[in-house]
Amino acid sequence: MPRPRIFGYLAVLFALILTGFFIYSLTLVFNENITFSQIDLQQLSNFTFYAIAAPIGLVSMVVIGTGFWIGWTILAIKVVPPMPEIVEKKDFSKIKAFFMCIITLALGVLLIYGIYIRNFWALAIPAAAICIVILGAVFWVGIAIITTRSTLPEEKQKS
């Protein structure tokens, strides 16, 4: 088997195993009565806590802020209405955008409040979401490496 393909399989395995661990940890929460939320983050020093909370909080705020900005732009943008002949269905995007603004605003407030009171879930949920996205991307690339054609284009073979 060519070396790139082996590494492709390794990337897929890596992503799958870590995702598996993550799912397993969720079953622990529900089946074994472990209450993560009672983990006392207050005992951590400020530096230790914010070393974890600041990057996770910032990334989460960027994502939530982007969501709010999308909703707000759809609500606020003023454009000429489309030609009536080509309108096939009613556009509910402004209503959806309004709810998106409300939801993202609420999530943002919750996140900031959660970090402020040092709640476990305020860090755990965004951290899990970030990990899932990264692992998903690693899995995707791994699959692409496995399935990609292994023959080089002619000009690359010559060089």
Binding site: F7, E88, V141, R149, P153, K156
Partner: protein, 412 residues
């Protein structure tokens, strides 16, 4: 002078920015300057006297599959590539931003052997430019038009929440606004574009210089002996680009008293579904021909074969297709949107201007021009004269060099 041009897409077939880089580089070489072009794919064509430095990417945004290069299978795991991959899969268009960072590394390397007098970017404005500014070389940028206009014209068409969300994510407007306000000088290609840049990005008017694009009138010229096809009109442009307003032209075709036939020159059409659907909807089957991607000589013959060029744009920062048609002595029917009046000139003299988004006015204009062949001929001749006088790449290059001198002196 040693000049370095930057362009995240360098090929003239990928749009106005590729054409701009090709002609500006060519003219600057003719004036005796040493020109280097740092460009992303699709790369510019080789040009005599121009040194091209290629900055590759994986084109994650456009490639849904086969984005792994067999000779570099792990490249996607490199930090910048991985960011580009994740961002692209989330619907963000990261090419501009990542090109600016890659261009920084490329320039850092190039500056070891080449002492550039000036670096001139072409419509990129990525965060990497803040790093390039630290390299100590005067650095300016050309903005053809702000992308806020592209976004708002998309919103004028029927769409749902998902499409709107994707469009908002696609355009890197916050980044471009942030970077544009930190550039020493911005060049733009029309007075209207300067106003729009000021409105969209808040760049002060005194920091914006207008230098008109040129038109290669030796390449675009009226071909002698070509028989005009009766009641024929031509549209040149990307039909999927909402700001081109092709929908208003199709609607107008249902309103004209003459049964006109339309030729659409667009490399991607008719594989894209929007326009074929509209043709069905408006009952125009058999009256619209798609040429697909064609070489320049065929395009010039098409300009000569048709009776009118129609450019129903909702906005143009300059409008190359209008200038091309004018150079071919073809009367242009276009709108008063954006810079088109600046390019086309006087209504009824060098072109025919109608309000944007007005299918009835377009239809009236087509009928009027088809009914008046003598006026069409005069209009075509006056249009070519205007192009030869006002829009030459030679003028553009001279003005650019004067501007480079000003920026370099201010930098010392």
């Amino acid at each position: 002078m040693k000049i370095c041009l930057l362009s995240y897409r360098g090929n003239p077939y990928c749009g106005g920015q590729g054409i701009y880089v090709m002609y500006i580089a060519r003219e600057l070489v003719k004036l005796g300057h040493e020109v280097h072009v740092v460009a992303g794919p699709p790369y510019p064509f080789d040009e005599e006297g121009v040194v091209i430095h290629r900055v590759s990417n994986h084109n994650y945004f456009n490639k849904k599959k086969d984005f792994i290069k067999p000779h570099k299978p792990f490249a996607t795991f490199q930090p910048l590539n991985f960011y580009e991959f994740v961002a692209a899969k989330m619907g963000i268009f990261p090419e501009i931003e990542t090109f600016s960072i890659r261009a920084f590394f490329k320039l850092k390397e190039l500056l070891k052997t080449h002492k550039f007098d000036i670096i001139h970017d072409n419509q990129c404005l990525g965060y990497g430019f803040l790093l390039i500014q630290r390299l100590g070389v005067p650095f300016i940028s050309t903005i053809h038009h702000p992308l806020t206009i592209d976004r708002s014209t998309w919103f004028e068409y029927p769409s749902d929440f998902n499409i709107k969300m994707r469009r908002i994510l696609y355009y890197p407007l916050l980044m471009q606004k942030f970077v544009a306000n930190r550039m020493y000088k911005i060049i733009t290609v029309s007075h209207n574009a300067a106003i729009e840049i000021n409105k969209a990005f808040g760049v002060k008017q005194k920091n914006i210089n207008v230098i008109y694009n040129g038109m290669d009138s030796s390449l675009f010229y009226p071909v002698k002996g070509v028989q005009k096809k009766k009641n024929s009109i031509i549209f040149v442009g990307n039909v999927e680009d909402r700001k081109k307003g092709v929908i208003y032209l199709l609607k107008a075709m249902t309103l004209t008293k003459h049964k006109v036939s339309l030729t659409i020159v667009d490399g991607g059409a008719p594989n894209r579904s929007t326009v074929p659907n509209l043709i069905n909807k408006f009952g125009l089957n058999g009256r619209v021909t798609f040429t697909g991607k064609i070489p320049i000589d065929k395009l010039i013959r098409l300009y000569s074969r048709n009776e009118i060029a129609v450019l129903p744009s909702l906005y143009e920062g300059f409008g190359f297709p209008a200038a091309e048609a004018m150079a071919c002595e073809l009367p242009v029917l276009t709108t008063t949107a954006g810079a088109l009046p600046e390019v086309v000139g006087e209504h009824m003299k060098t072109g025919y201007l109608v309000p944007p988004r007005d299918a009835h006015a377009i239809a009236e204009g087509i009928d009027f021009l088809l009914d008046n062949p003598d006026l069409r001929r005069e209009m075509g001749k006056a249009a070519r004269k205007r192009v030869l006088e006002v829009f030459t790449w030679e003028n553009a290059a001279h003005e650019l060099v004067a501007m480079y001198d000003e920026v370099i002196n201010a930098h010392r």
